[in-house]
Every structure is written in structure tokens, then in C-alpha cells.
């Protein structure tokens, strides 16, 4: 459990004039479950997207299990940016689950999962299908593998998206508000699957406003405000004895009250 899997070092991100992430640092250990919390616009999505370089940091370095993401140092210790091929190679080690599911609209649930297996991991077709079925079963969707995205509920779609990411057997899973587009019943379906994953050794970084879930699920919670790190700690501690006024103020807005959980 002690091995460090992910490091973000002095990360800054600007969109034009606006600096939306300011000097963000984090280390995530293998198997750790980390929650990123913060108000809307505080930069949670941006941080998550920088981890797999869907967004390029303006400054700072990201490191995953021995390699920098987005580039590397050559023999002369000069920074060389990653080619498209290198980036793809690194991204396949990171699974991502989006707020809006983003299932491939022209493919069935099964083929949403197999696409990466055959085209990225180059598995033979049979093996890809077997692995896809295994992961779809894991998210309780065995009966729906032939359905197209538009034929499934939001909760089912999000679980397919989780299976699609898991099937690549990534070192790290990123979740960006995976349930915020879902009603409470469907939210529960998805959270249950995530809770099951938490019991395995998977490393996860999750953005969510489901504070009840966060408290059970996470080893550590990080609170952000306006792109600035405010504090971190076990969720229990942030809920009950936050170091910062800002944290307690925000968490009280999240509808969490002492004794709720």
C-alpha cells in the first residue's frame, strides 16, 4: 500500500487570462481512494483531465508509476514532449469515467468495451469479447450487452462506461462526477458498483458531491477552492474537525449534517 502511483507537482492551469488551477500538488498511493471536493468552478474537472492529458497543464509535472505524462527527460535532462503515440500509450494506463458517460453512440454496450481491447491492447477478438463480458457482468449488465447507448438508462450507460474503462485494466481510475446526471435510484446503482471496486485494490481519484458516499468510500479527501488546495485528510476528519473555515462552510452546504451517516 505504500508505493506511490501518481504525483502531481506544482500544477498550474490557465485558460487565457484566467488561472483556474494554482500550484496543485498531490501524491496518490497505490490502492488509495481519493475524493476531490470543491464548489462548482473550483477546478476539479480540470485537475482530473490534466492527469490523462486531455488538458495540458500550463506548468508543472505529472508522474504515473515511473513515467512522466505528457513528456519525458532525455539523456541531457531536457524535457521532450510526448508524441501522439506516446500519449496514447500512457493514457491506456488510466481509465476515465465522464459526467456525461460519453459512450460511443454507434456501438453496442459490448462493442463499447471491446473497441479499446482490440484496437489499443490488440487482443484477439474472442479474448476481447470474453473480457468485455466479464467486466459488463461485474457492473451487473450481463443482460444488456447487445443494447445501444440510447436504449439504456443513464445508470446503465454509466456502468457500461465504467466497464469500458475497467476492461483496459488501468493502474488508475478517474471519475468525474459520475452520478451527477442521474436520479437518486440510478445514482445508487452506480455508487454501489464503485463501492464494490473500492474493495478491490484499484486506485481511484473521484470527483463527487455525494458526501455520504465519499465518507464511506474514500481514504482521503482533498478540498479545493478557486483552483487552490485548501486542506486534505480522512473524510471523517474534514467533516468533523476541518482545519479551515472554508472547508466546514462548503461541507455544510453539501447537505451533510453531523449524525446523518
Amino acid at each position: 500500500m505504500e508505493k506511490i502511483l501518481l504525483k502531481m507537482e506544482h500544477i498550474h492551469k490557465s485558460f487565457g487570462q484566467a488561472e483556474v488551477v494554482k500550484d496543485f500538488n498531490v501524491e496518490v498511493k497505490q490502492g488509495e481512494k481519493v475524493i476531490l471536493a470543491g464548489a462548482s468552478g473550483s477546478g476539479k474537472t480540470t485537475i482530473l483531465r490534466m492527469i490523462n492529458y486531455l488538458e495540458t497543464p500550463t506548468k508543472g509535472k505529472i508522474w504515473l508509476d515511473g513515467d512522466y505524462i505528457g513528456g519525458h527527460y532525455n539523456e541531457k535532462s531536457e524535457w521532450v514532449s510526448d508524441s501522439m503515440q506516446d500519449l496514447a500509450e500512457k493514457r491506456k494506463q488510466i481509465g476515465m469515467v465522464f459526467q456525461s458517460f460519453n459512450l460511443f453512440a454507434h456501438l453496442s454496450a459490448l462493442h463499447n468495451v471491446t473497441l479499446g481491447l482490440t484496437r489499443v491492447l490488440k487482443l484477439p477478438k474472442k479474448e476481447a469479447i470474453a473480457r468485455a463480458e466479464h467486466y459488463l457482468n461485474k457492473v451487473h449488465l450481463s443482460e444488456h450487452i447487445k443494447k445501444y447507448p440510447h436504449q439504456m438508462s443513464g445508470g446503465q450507460q454509466q456502468r457500461v462506461a465504467i466497464a469500458r474503462a475497467l476492461a483496459m485494466q488501468p493502474k488508475l481510475m478517474l471519475f468525474d462526477e459520475p452520478t451527477s446526471a442521474l436520479d437518486p435510484k440510478l445514482t445508487n446503482e452506480v455508487l454501489e458498483v464503485m463501492q464494490e471496486l473500492a474493495e478491490e485494490k484499484l486506485t481511484m481519484v473521484v470527483v463527487t458531491h455525494e458526501m455520504g458516499f465519499a465518507r464511506h468510500f474514500a481514504d482521503r479527501m482533498i478540498y479545493l477552492e478557486d483552483g487552490v488546495f485548501i486542506e486534505e485528510g480522512p473524510p471523517e476528519k474534514l467533516f468533523t474537525h476541518p482545519e479551515s473555515e472554508k472547508t466546514s462552510h462548503f461541507l455544510s452546504f453539501c447537505g451533510y449534517k453531523e449524525g446523518d451517516i
Binding site: L54, Q85, A88, E89, A105, V120, Y148, H150
Partner: protein, 227 residues
């Protein structure tokens, strides 16, 4: 109207219709190759490539088909390229339709939700593979409608090939009128033949769109209303 005369000229017009269909269909198909290749480059290429495809589109769409046909007819021999009349027609129409098809492909590619592309990148596909396996297949369905339009336009534009005396439908009708002066009969038939040609294409395309490229009918919300 002289019905027996009309029946008499049907075989001649049918043969000419076949030429019209061939020259348009071949140009459309070659144009499709250019359209997709240039359309993809237009979206994914570097700045220089994008600039070149834009220039091509401006020229191809900005000049009338008749001028392009004359240009092919007079300029190709100057460049030492001697082609049969039919091939000259194909070159001119291909140039013409490619300009429109590049834009059709570009619009379809750009209409695909960015989230689809990000999901592709996130599982480790490269940008090109994302385009090949995700964006393009979804875009094909959205291209069907505009492509049918373009084919209908192309069939009609091919009538300008009469300027270089290619015996397609319009030229053939023109020749019959010149010989017999029965313009009403000929014009009605010629118009009818064009109409049937274009109409059957639209039906074929609608079939393809809904049955071959249907992808569970998600890629295009219009289907909700069509079915």
C-alpha cells in the same frame, strides 16, 4: 402531343440517361474519395494542409460547372493529357463535386460530440484511430442526407456536359429537337427522366440511412421523426 413519337425516342433517351447516370455516379464515387480524404485533412490536418483544402473548396465551389467543364476540355490537352470525352466529363464533374463533398464531410465530422473523441483518447486510441473508429463511422450517417442532395445536384449539373457534346440526356434531347423541332415532347420526356433518376436516388439513400447505417438509430436524432 405526338405520343407515338415520344414512345419512339424513349430508347435513345434511355441510352443517354445511362450515360448521365454513369458520368454522375463515377464522378460522385471518385469525388467521395477526395471528399473524405480532404474533409478529414480539413479537420485534422496541420495549418498548411487546412489552408490548401480551404483554397481548393473556394475554387471548386466558386466557379460554375460549365466553366469547369470547358476548362477540362481545353486545358487538359494543353497539359498533354488526351482523354476520351466521357473521361473529360468525369474529371470536370469530379472537381466540381469534390469541393462540395469536402464541406459535407467536414460538417459531419465537426458535428460529432467532443465527448466521443475524448472517450476515445481516454482509452488510449490515438487521434487518428479515434477519427477512424469513432468519429468517421458516426459521421457517415450524418453525411447520407447531404450526399444525396449533392448527387441530385451533380446529376443536374452533368447536363452542362452538352457544352462539350457528350451525349448525355440533355445533349441527346437537344439533338432530337434540332432534328425534329418537337420540343414539347422531348422536353417533357427529358425532364421526366431526370426526375425519375433523382427520385430513385433519394429513396435508395433513405433506405441506406435507416437500414445500413442505422447504428441503433442514435447517431441522428432526426430519425425520431422519420420513423
Amino acid at each position: 402531343m405526338d405520343i407515338s413519337f415520344m414512345i419512339e425516342i424513349v430508347p435513345r433517351l434511355l441510352r443517354a440517361t445511362w450515360v448521365t447516370l454513369q458520368v454522375s455516379a463515377i464522378s460522385l464515387m471518385i469525388g467521395l474519395v477526395f471528399g473524405i480524404v480532404l474533409g478529414v485533412l480539413r479537420v485534422y490536418g496541420n495549418r498548411f494542409i487546412v489552408w490548401c483544402t480551404k483554397g481548393f473548396v473556394i475554387v471548386a465551389r466558386g466557379t460554375p460547372a460549365a466553366i469547369q467543364i470547358y476548362a477540362a476540355f481545353f486545358l487538359l490537352p494543353r497539359l498533354g493529357i488526351r482523354l476520351p470525352l466521357f473521361a473529360v466529363g468525369v474529371v470536370a464533374l469530379t472537381f466540381n463535386t469534390s469541393g462540395y463533398q469536402v464541406e459535407i464531410v467536414r460538417a459531419a465530422l465537426e458535428s460529432i460530440d467532443k465527448g466521443q473523441i475524448e472517450a476515445g483518447l481516454a482509452i488510449g486510441l490515438t487521434r487518428w484511430k479515434t477519427m477512424l473508429y469513432i468519429t468517421l463511422p458516426q459521421a457517415v450517417k450524418r453525411m447520407m442526407g447531404p450526399m444525396t442532395n449533392e448527387f441530385a445536384n451533380l446529376i443536374k449539373a452533368s447536363s452542362a456536359l452538352m457544352l462539350i457534346s457528350l451525349y448525355e440526356l440533355t445533349k441527346s434531347g437537344h439533338a432530337i429537337i434540332a432534328a425534329t423541332f418537337k420540343y414539347a415532347e422531348v422536353l417533357v420526356l427529358v425532364a421526366l427522366f431526370y426526375f425519375v433518376l433523382v427520385q430513385s436516388l433519394c429513396k435508395l439513400s433513405a433506405y441506406l440511412e435507416n437500414n445500413v447505417f442505422n447504428f441503433g438509430k442514435t447517431a441522428d436524432p432526426r430519425n425520431e421523426f422519420l420513423n
